[in-house]
Symmetry: C2
Subunit: 384 residues, 2 copies
Amino acid sequence: MRDVAIIGIGQTKVDEHWDKSLRELAGYAALEAKAEAQVSQIDTIYVGNMMSGVANQQGQLGSMVADWIGQRFTDAVKIEAACSSGGAAFRMAYLAVASGQADIALAVGVEKMTDSPSNEITSALATAADADWEVDHGLSFVALNALIMKRYMHEYGWEGIDFAEFAINAHANAVQNPFARFRKAITEEQFIKSTMICDPINLMDASPIGDGAAAVILAPVEMLAPGSPRIVVAGSAAATDTIAVHSRAHPLWLSAAEKSSKAAYEQAGIAPEDIDVFEYHDAFTIMAALSLEASGFAEPGQGPALAKAGEIRIGGRIPVATRGGLKARGHPVGATGMYQIVEVVQQLRGQAVGTQVPDAEFGMTQNIGGSGSNIVTHILKREN
Amino acid sequence: MRDVAIIGIGQTKVDEHWDKSLRELAGYAALEAKAEAQVSQIDTIYVGNMMSGVANQQGQLGSMVADWIGQRFTDAVKIEAACSSGGAAFRMAYLAVASGQADIALAVGVEKMTDSPSNEITSALATAADADWEVDHGLSFVALNALIMKRYMHEYGWEGIDFAEFAINAHANAVQNPFARFRKAITEEQFIKSTMICDPINLMDASPIGDGAAAVILAPVEMLAPGSPRIVVAGSAAATDTIAVHSRAHPLWLSAAEKSSKAAYEQAGIAPEDIDVFEYHDAFTIMAALSLEASGFAEPGQGPALAKAGEIRIGGRIPVATRGGLKARGHPVGATGMYQIVEVVQQLRGQAVGTQVPDAEFGMTQNIGGSGSNIVTHILKREN
């Protein structure tokens, strides 16, 4: 397997892009990444997307993107793994280059959710849960997370307010990110007073949907100028779990996060202590806590304690959601994993204006599909 | 890249499986392939599926299959490329093993279409066309193929009856296949009298939908006993094209079929003359003709002539649809590409009871997404 570098990034703002089509969103992000990478020919394309069939009546996004960016005839497919589709697409592109199947690979995540009826989007989001054993009983995706959060609060003695810092940190960071959907800081009081959606999840525990796309170009390190500064993929791993939460032995433990992060640490030859910045999957604040715990940053049940101690801020032990996270940058579901990659590249390049983690060398992303049923973890590293 | 062999196959009958869930269909085919391969641990799983989000309200089929077949935690994703999803999933699994990323890979194609409302399925099938530039103008997927067929008849002077042999051959072969949906021979008279669906496409020009799953296990040849009989992947290639047919310079020429078949021939070191059996993508009889032409078996516009000369039958120049094809085995869209692979393996093993091509050495599959916008071609070879 060859060493692989990210040589170009691109992203659109997460927003209500009613004036841009699915192909335009994906295309703009891809063309930006391609221009930055200064490549003309792309060998293979992987598109991460969760719900274009339902939300946009469009399939085969591989062909759609290849054609629109001027790479007609290029081998291209769509990868779907619910909200981890973006991370999974990046992983496929990484493997294509690492294995020597392709030299120049494009990974792009795209989702367009805001001009479909909201009940359609709620149904589409529920496809991330188990249709037969969860959704058929009336559970929406937020309801499922509410049950997990409620059980977590019961087991570990936390209250709703103890999750506030996850949201406050994300919003504070998003203020500095021109690509974030909600560039507004929030206070603890606003968190407390926010509308209850599905007890105990309130509006500020939940990430917003959005339209957006993010993309990267990958190439083998051997093609780069020797000794040049670069961002390389130091670890890439994915693991699945049961889709239905009730089928797991430990519903408050993300086994797929533990397995994929351990594999990624091992590949990179590092430990959690070495990670300088972590773009985690804060679709709900409870997922932020569970991700920190399963990835080795906090003891089981102690994610909120880490946050309350100020350790998830820039300058803290493990800065997270540094460009706003899912909570405030926004969560265009199938694109989110690619936004995480792009944001970590910005951090490692020193381009994270306003929320730069000083001298960041190792950055990690963790993209969660369903309630932990598919988890993709990547470790990126700055070299030279 | 390592040489790769198919060491196990499995399939369910294509049918109206109202008593079996999506996970059961995929699981039964996968478990059968796994049992035949005599492996206990699978390293990676690729699931080909087009429309589970719309038709079954279920996403992340990778996790679903991994869990249900006892491979919980295994890296697994869904691959979508419209009706070529099955072939694309097989290609991903092949590349995973060829590159050394995985030793034992499972590819499974699954689709469950018959217990959803038919208007929902028609809409879902239309996602294979261009939502903005084709479907928005009122075109269904069959209407799009009818326009292509009409133009073809105009250009080359064929009439509807000239396409009959594609359907008659497929139905004759399906009689012998216990996994086929329609095991009934049809006559030319029945073809002529069949209901017009969308002029010039009648009921017998069109393949039926269905529920079904087909699966294979792949392994590196280096893991097999030296000199043992085996079916290897001799060529694997995919190419895209514009989704919208009107954007192509030549709407009657499948460029992606030409490109992917040429690449596959080159990898296998052979020419079209060397192919003993061809499982093509006869979603409509017009696609059968176009596929034969772009893959080098007939001159442009002469696909029907090849069929009328008896050359597509067992014993003819290029036997096609030997187990019934999409027309009579049935077309559970995202599973079809995997049925093609399984059927060619049966031919090369000498297991195609009733429709065996004598002493078949090279078999080809061609799986078409959309109206030619994503085409995946594979060449399998019998060794020892």
